[in-house]
């Protein structure tokens, strides 16, 4: 086990940034759901409502040079990374103004300028890629690291184990982050894993592993910072498991037959946004009117994002075969 994790002091301003980012993500996701019901967004749409502390906590610990790879549940990660909500919304509307010119949609957000590499929708498929990006960083003697997010369902895929072993064997600068939201679609973790101790699976591959409360954004951020420090000091990968929960359906259609309302309510009491907001209120670091203003600003930003997406344009069908091969 690594040294005891202590919550390092964090500035008041930064706490507010964390709150603001989580709220922005929450509202963005709610708006996306609304846009889905209006058929502005189609295909699959996976929301991270309830899990905001994970992308916000981790991504705030990274530098702009670090690479990030995510799953199909990645709108929050994209926003936390600083891709504009307009670009993300436009992408989901299928417009050229989207971060992938509309080609990718909700599950495939990429922005090379932000070192944001998806939006990957084959469960487990991006883990080997993340290892390869970290391998390149090591070969290039770059200072940056790679950060890879995935669900606890992905941990059952053979690729998880192959990727973990390679990362450890090659001593790569990669932070593997398991967003353990307790379910893979309708399959609870105990039906996915014979042993639900995910950290042990990291350690069996010789990787330093740590499990933290993924509903507390400051805990997540501290753990991520610790992990990144470990990676830099020891020149080895680090595995962070964040215990969290998805408050909404897996995607848009989901009767949620596989879990009880009571369980969902139980977890909602640990809503990462409410937790932090209440704490800041209690500590008088923020006032009710500050929050109101923050919410209004977010509302305005999200509405602007929708307007931006609406105003966007579609690629011509004559360009259909573009991006199958590089232009030479």
């Amino acid at each position: 086990m690594p040294e005891e994790l202590t919550i390092s002091t964090i500035s008041k301003e930064h706490e507010i940034v964390l709150l603001q980012q989580m709220k922005l993500i929450r509202r963005f996701e709610e708006k996306a759901a609304e846009m889905y019901s209006k058929s502005k967004i189609r295909g699959f749409l996976h929301l991270c409502i309830g899990e905001e502390a994970v992308p916000v906590g981790v991504i705030n610990s990274l530098s702009q040079h670090d690479y990030i790879l995510c799953t199909y549940r990645e709108h929050g990660h994209a926003l936390a990374r600083g891709i504009s909500s307009g670009k993300v919304m436009a992408e989901m509307f299928g417009k050229i103004q989207g971060c992938c010119k509309g080609r990718g949609g909700s599950m495939h957000l990429f922005d090379k300028s932000k070192n944001f590499f998806g939006g990957n929708a084959i469960v487990g498929g991006h883990l080997p890629m993340a290892v390869g990006m970290a391998l390149a960083q090591k070969k290039q003697k770059a200072d940056a690291i790679t950060c890879c997010f995935f669900g606890e369902g992905a941990v059952a895929e053979g690729e998880f184990h192959e990727a973990m072993n390679l990362a450890a064997l090659w001593k790569l600068p990669v932070l593997m982050v398991c967003e353990n939201n307790q379910y893979a679609m309708g399959t609870a973790i105990q039906f996915t894993h014979a042993s639900i101790d995910i950290a042990a699976k990291g350690r069996a591959n010789g990787i330093e592993s740590m499990e933290v409360d993924g509903m507390d954004v400051k805990v997540v951020e501290n753990a991520a910072k610790f992990g990144i420090g470990y990676i830099r000091t020891h020149k080895k990968p680090f595995f962070l498991i964040c215990q969290t929960y998805r408050f909404r359906a897996h995607s848009m259609f989901d009767a949620e037959l596989y879990r009880s309302k009571a369980e969902v309510e139980e977890w909602k009491r640990r809503d990462p946004i409410i937790l932090l907001q209440n704490e800041l209120l209690l500590k008088n670091q923020i006032t009710v009117s500050d929050i109101k203003m923050m919410d209004q600003e977010i509302e305005a930003e999200i509405n602007a994002a929708v307007d931006f997406a609406e105003a966007g344009t579609y690629e011509s069908t004559t360009d259909l075969s573009k991006y199958t091969y590089s232009e030479i």
Partner: protein
């Protein structure tokens, strides 16, 4: 007068599953989210409650693992129905399917049979973007040792599974997610279906439209439209993609002297390539015009609806192409 009933494709699939589970206690279903979730597309909804956890098994995200386990169970006397949620994840299990399921009988000199049925949701057209919009029937149809079938109609959605379960050899059964909510007619007195024959879904004498899967409906619609212009197209649903029933389409081409092959899959090295090559080899002198193809565009499928639709065969494209071919008369 035929006694028919209306049924949607999803319900047809569900009834087929239920019937198979009732008929043979060695049959069991396993796949991601087939149980507690009710199936990713609600096909197996209620079956867990009816048959219990031993017969409706949720599995972890381990495609190679659970497909391989299905193969092993089949070798050891069970009749597993393994669901790959969608074809998009099938490559992860491809080594198991090709190097084990398709190969064991041969390698063992005929000793080991692998009576597994692998159901795979397949197809494009739901704005699921590049990683989730595959039609990989051609890849499977390349593999000796596999029986590859495609349920392009409600009848086959209802009847193919029980026929597949009679096979001693591995059967890959393609189902089409884009058809799930469509309604169709089914005879009340269900007839057993054959797993080795194509079916002429509509007869005609001017041209043969050869197709399968999600394009059967498009071809039938196109044929109906063409009928208005006095063109009688014959529509052949291949159904069995391996081993191909070439007799049926060769006979049709011998009658119509023209053929158009339609499929959603990418064009190069596809089912339509094979059908065209067979017609070339075996009915060349019957042809009044070159056989043509309308297939999926050779691009990863883009997310936006208009681009995706542009990448797929449409009724309109079929109608126009047929008219163009017939001018060659």
């Amino acid at each position: 007068m035929m006694d028919t009933l209306k049924i949607n494709y999803r319900e047809a699939l569900r009834q087929a599953l239920r019937e198979s589970l009732l008929n043979d206690e060695n049959v069991f279903l396993m796949g991601e989210d087939v149980g507690r979730y009710g199936g990713a597309f609600a096909v197996s909804k209620g079956l867990l409650q009816e048959f219990g956890e031993d017969r409706i098994m949720d599995v972890p995200l381990s495609e190679s693992g659970f497909v391989g386990a299905g193969i092993g169970a089949a070798m050891a006397g069970m009749k597993p129905i393994v669901e790959l949620m969608t074809v998009n994840f099938s490559l992860l299990a491809m080594d198991q399917i090709v190097n084990n399921a398709a190969t064991l009988l041969h390698m063992s000199g005929g000793q080991i049979h692998v009576p597994i049925v692998i159901r795979i949701g397949c197809g494009k057209g739901k704005q699921l973007a590049a990683q989730h919009s595959h039609s990989w029937e051609p890849i499977f149809a390349h593999i000796p040792g596999l029986i590859v079938v495609s349920a392009g109609t409600h009848e086959d959605a209802r009847m193919m599974l029980s026929a597949a379960l009679k096979s001693k050899d591995p059967v890959i059964l393609f189902e089409y997610t884009s058809l799930l909510n469509t309604e169709g007619e089914l005879e009340k007195n269900l007839r057993e279906c054959e797993l080795n024959k194509s079916i002429i879904r509509k007869s005609g004498k001017h041209i043969s439209l050869i197709t399968y899967g999600a394009c059967v409906g498009k071809a039938l619609n196109a044929a109906a439209t063409l009928e208005l212009s006095g063109i009688e197209a014959e529509v052949i649903d291949l159904r069995v993609l391996r081993p191909l029933d070439e007799a049926t389409f060769l006979a049709s081409v011998t009658k119509t002297h023209k053929a158009l092959i339609i499929e959603d899959a990418w064009q190069s090295v596809s089912i339509s390539s094979e059908v065209s090559a067979r017609i070339m080899e075996k009915a060349f002198y019957e042809l009044d015009a070159p056989v043509e193809r309308i297939c999926g565009s050779e691009v990863p499928i883009p997310y936006p609806a208009h681009l995706e639709q542009a990448a797929l065969p449409s009724e309109e494209m079929i109608v126009q192409k047929v008219k163009k071919i017939l001018k060659h008369d």
